[in-house]
């Protein structure tokens, strides 16, 4: 794909917009359609597009696989940790209402944190899967050549 000028220019133009849209879906998920899962998938789609056009190696420089495993775990921890935080503040598990001074503000913070955890994990896992499949094909090509 190295010589495909149109693809390179268009995707360079598109990738930031995809990131932006992912963040919009992420942080608008509490009032509108969307949320962590969709945002995570869109976010990873931008990086997958980058990998398709510029090569898997350069994509790995953007997000090294070792960080991805860390991010995947971090998301789950944020999710479970939000529940523990509400336990600590005197509510039941995942009872967002106690997280802030008023019930409404607490619900808002709670769902944002949960969706953030979901978003991070989904993004990381999508990329881990993509890299795993991309690696597999390349290993076989190496064996052939």
């Amino acid at each position: 794909m190295k010589h495909n000028l149109i693809l390179r220019v268009v995707s360079k133009f598109l990738i930031p917009l995809i990131f932006l849209f992912a963040l919009y879906v992420q942080f608008h998920g509490d009032f509108g359609p969307g949320g962590g899962f969709q945002a995570g998938v869109i976010f990873s789609a931008a990086i997958i597009l980058y990998a398709l056009v510029f090569g898997v190696d350069s994509a790995k420089q953007v997000i090294p696989p070792s960080i991805l495993l860390f991010l995947a775990s971090l998301g789950v921890l944020i999710y479970a940790g939000t529940g523990v935080a509400s336990l600590m503040m005197g509510g039941n598990y995942l009872e967002y209402g106690v997280l802030a001074s008023t019930q409404l503000a607490g619900q808002h913070i709670g769902i944002l944190l949960i969706e953030l955890g979901v978003g991070i994990t989904v993004m990381a896992v999508m990329l881990i899967m993509f890299f795993a499949f991309a690696e597999r094909g390349r290993q076989q090509e190496d064996k052939k050549s």
Partner: protein, 499 residues
Amino acid sequence: MIENHLSLLIVVLPLLAAPIVAVLPNGRMPWSISTLVSWAVFAMACIQLINVSTGSVISYELGGWAPPWGIEYRIDAANALVALIVSGIAAVTLPYALKSVEQEIPKHQHSLFYAAFMLCFTGLLGITLTGDIFNLFVFLEISSLSSYALISLGKQRQALTASYQYLIMGTIGATFFIIGVGLLYAMTGTLNMMDLSQRLPELYEHRTIHTAFAFIMVGFALKLALFPLHLWLPNAYTYAPTVVTVFLAATATKVAVYVMLRVIFSVFGFTFIEDTPTDELFMILCVVGILMMSFYAIYQQDAKRLLAYSSVAQIGYMMLGIGIGSALGITATLVHLFNHALMKGALFMAIGAIVYQIGSSRIEHMQGLGKHMPWTFAAIVIGGLSLIGVPGTAGFISKWYLVLAAIEKQHWLIVIVILAGSLLAVIYVWKLVEVLYFKPADESGQTVSNQLTSRKEAPLMLLIPTWILVVANVYFGFNTELTVGTAEQAVKLLLPSMN
């Protein structure tokens, strides 16, 4: 604070441990954290069982939303007992895991292995404690997906095929279950089990409810490997790493049997089941299953596979109790659930100790090993006696109750089948004992390369957990206060009409 949130912490603690363990460097840290977590969960499960042993029910509202709208955890004697089994087996399996995993699984996968183990643990506990039927599905998926990964880590290449086979069958099972739940939701508009049980009776005649019931039954019959839907089980147990086989054999199918109990008696109610051919069907399948699978077990050449077929037969005993459907029958099911976890755990651990020493689970490679590994051999003998159901072991108690239940309902054929199944168990247990003790050792050493050097007793790290389970087998053969007492308490809640 911990008192009030106990039932939830049991599920959340391993869930928190999983991501932490996954990012730790490979070494002993992942193992130590997992082990500590399993011990803490076991302690909490003990306290929880004491709390509900008087017949009270704990209800925990997740997120502070009142049921039936929010997810509710509902703990009574039945699921407190199953949670105790799951956490107890994890608490003895993990110390065993250190040596066994070091040998069987490549070092760079250790932390991920323990993370998957913790996730599987979370899933099984979640299925057990939740009172919401959709939440149950979510935990079912967590435990299944992680167990597919765990099984595929086996040393032999067949582990991948075995895991894939389980993945396909398990996914069909889970899909059937969720189709059933969807139909129930469409008819009643609720997912809370208690709420379902109140709304279902007026819809009993409706065909959709019958369809939903059929889907849920077939789905879980696949997950618990009820004959003839057991095809995934022998391969999965044979090729999985030893620790995974021990853990899954002692817990995963038991949890599925518990779900069956819960759905049949708490959600639908036994009056509904009696109008359908389900109970007769269970009895026929179990009778055929017990006899056929015991015969299969006799002809196996691999010790793990032999025990796997015996597991399918033993699941038949558990489901027989449900099929009989009397108070005694369910008591027998719950008690056998507990006791079978102990005996299969002990046997798979002992076989695992042999595999650790000689690197093979083929029976012909084990000739004469009993003299070199006396403690392992003794564990197999006592575990085998318990599997047969000899008085003085745990296995006797559960078969005794099952026979009583069958006699009470005058099912004479079932009584004969239970006794015949025990006789067949004598044959396959004897097959192991004979090879281990009475066959002369094959000193040529040609079968397994390192056989001659490793013909000695297994390390203590493997023997101690094995013997904890062996001693438990004998202890619960004499003291039935915990098992039978709790089971009778649970039956009062599951079958309110009979008391």
